[in-house]
Symmetry: C3
C-alpha cells in the first residue's frame, strides 16, 4: 500500500507550514526566538497530536524527532527572514497561504489515518476537518488573535470538502496517492479561491440572540 | 448490568443538547452553516472526548458515527429554526437551559465511565465535573465569549453535586439507572435553581491581588 | 532505579504549586470556593495530563486520588489565606514564584517520563517544556488573562534549559536524582533570575506584519 510512503511526507509538509504560520504569529507579537519555536512547534504538531490522541495511536512526533526539529528549524528561519517578505507582501497574507497548504495536507492526513484506524466515513471526514483546523485554532488562542473560526471565512468548509473527496475516492477503491492528491487539491483550491476571491457562505442573517448584558438588564427590569 | 443501556442514551442526549448550545453560540456570532456544524460537533463531543482520553478508553464518536451525525443535525436544525425562539424567549436563555440538561447528563456519564474504568471516588467525581463543563468551556473559548467559569454562576458546583450523589449511591449498591437518574436530577435541579433564582455561592471578597500593570508600576517606583 | 521514588514527589510538588497558582488566579477574579478548586485542579493536573496523554501512559491522577485531593486542599487553603500575603507582597508576585517552582518540577518530570517511555532527546526536552507551561497556559486561558507566552518573559526558555540539562546528564549516565535536581535547579534559577532581574531575550525587532484590519483595508483600496 503506497499510503505508507505518502503519509510521512504529508506529515512533514503539514508540520513545516503550520510551524511557519505559528512563527509568523509570533513575529506579529514581536516575541523572542524561543517563543517563535514554541509557537512553531505547538502550531505545527497540534493538529496531528489531537488526531493521534483521538484515534488512540502513538503521537507521531514522540518517536521520530525529525518533526520537532523541522518545526524548530522553520521557526528559526522565519525569525531571521520574515522581514524580507514584508515589503512585497504582508506577512499576514503569507501566513494565510502557508496555512492553506498545511490545512489541505492535514485534512487528507487526518481522514486517511482515521480510515486506517477503522473509523467510518463521517467521523473520518470530521476528524480530517478538526485536525486541519486545530493547529490554527491553538495558534489563534495562544496569540490572542481573533480565531479563524469567527471570521466567517471558508476554511473548515474547504477541509471538509477535501477530506470528503478523499474518503469517497478511497471508498471507491482509487489508489491512496491519487485520492490524497485529489482531496488535497480540492481543499487547497477551495481555500485558495476563498482567499483570492473572497468567497463566502451565506451567514446566519436572523437577528442575533440578545447579548448576555442585554438579557440580564431585561430580567432585572422584569423583576422590578 | 443496566448501565450498558443507559450510558449510550445519556451520551446521545449530552451530544445533542451541547450541540444545540454550540450552534446557538454560532448564531449569536452570525456565522455560516458549516461553522454552526463545527461549533455543534466541538461542543457536543468535546466533554466526552476529554473524558475518554483521560480514562484511556476509545473515543466514543470514532466507532459510532451516530454521534457526529446527531450533532450536525442538531446544528442544522438550529440554523433554520433559532429565530423562531427569538420573540418569546431570548436565545441566550435557551442556551443556558439546554446547557443545563447536557451538563447534568455528562456529569453522571463522566463519573459512571470513570468508575467503570476503575477510578476511585474523588477522581470520578472530578472527571464528571470536568467532563460536564469542558464542552461549554471549549464553546466559550472558540466563540470568544466570557467563560461560564468566570461568571461566578453555580455550574460546576451543580455538576459536582450530581456526580457525587451518583458515585455515593453507586457505592452503596443502588441500581445504576436509579443512581444515574438521581444524580442527573440533582445536577439539573441545582443548576436550574441557580438559573431561575440567581443562587450564588459567596465570592472571595478580600481585596483582589494587584493587577499585573499595578505590580510592575510599583516595582519600577521601588527601584528609583 | 531511584527515579521511582523521585517522580511521585515531583508530581505532588508540581500539582500543589500549580494548584496554588490556579487558585490565586481565581482570587484575582473574586470567584467562589468551587471555582477556586476547579482552577486549582485544572492548573495543577493540566500539564501532567497532557504529558501522559501524549506519551500514551495512564493519566497520573486517575488511579491515585491523592493528586486531586492535594490540589483541592491547596485551593481551599488559598481561599482562606490569600489575603494574609497581600499586605507584604502582592499575590501576583507570589503566583509567579509558585509557578516557577512548579515549572521547574514539571520540566524535569515531563522529560524524565518521556525518556522512560522511550522518546529520543529532542521530543523529551520539548515535552518537558510543553508540560511545564501547559498548566499555566490553561490557567491564563480560563482566567482570560494575558498568556505568559505573550509577555516575552523567560519562562519556556527556563523550562527548556532545565529539561535539556536533565536529558543530557541522564544520557551521560548520571544518577537520575542528581540529574533531576540539577535540571530543576537550572530551570528555577533561570526563571528566578528573570523574575528578579528582568532578564529578557532579544525580541523580534523588525516591523511587525500588518494587522488583519490594515491588510483588509489595503486590499479594499487596491480594488477600487
Amino acid at each position: 500500500m503506497d499510503m505508507t510512503t505518502i503519509l510521512p511526507l504529508l506529515d512533514y509538509l503539514g508540520v513545516a507550514v503550520f510551524a511557519v504560520s505559528g512563527a509568523l504569529a509570533a513575529s506579529r507579537k514581536q516575541l523572542d526566538l524561543v517563543a517563535f519555536c514554541f509557537f512553531g512547534v505547538a502550531t505545527g504538531v497540534g493538529g496531528g497530536t489531537l488526531r493521534d490522541l483521538v484515534l488512540g495511536l502513538p503521537v507521531f512526533w514522540i518517536e521520530d524527532q525529525t518533526y520537532v526539529v523541522a518545526a524548530v528549524l522553520a521557526a528559526v528561519v522565519i525569525y531571521f527572514t520574515a522581514h524580507l517578505f514584508h515589503a512585497a507582501w504582508s506577512r499576514y497574507r503569507l501566513l494565510l497561504w502557508a496555512d492553506a497548504v498545511g490545512m489541505a495536507a492535514y485534512a487528507v492526513m487526518g481522514a486517511a489515518k482515521a480510515l486506517e484506524a477503522g473509523a467510518p466515513a463521517v467521523p473520518a471526514v470530521m476528524l480530517g476537518a478538526v485536525t486541519a483546523s486545530f493547529g490554527g485554532v491553538i495558534r489563534d488562542i495562544l496569540a490572542n488573535e481573533p480565531s479563524v473560526l469567527l471570521r466567517r471565512e471558508i476554511y473548515i468548509s474547504a477541509a471538509i470538502a477535501g477530506a470528503a473527496l478523499f474518503v469517497a475516492l478511497a471508498g471507491l477503491g482509487v489508489a491512496a496517492s491519487v485520492a490524497a492528491l485529489a482531496g488535497g487539491a480540492l481543499a487547497f483550491g477551495v481555500r485558495g479561491g476563498a482567499l483570492a476571491f473572497d468567497w463566502r457562505l451565506p451567514a446566519y442573517r436572523n437577528p442575533p440572540g440578545r447579548s448576555i448584558a442585554e438579557t440580564e438588564t431585561r430580567r432585572a427590569k422584569r423583576r422590578r
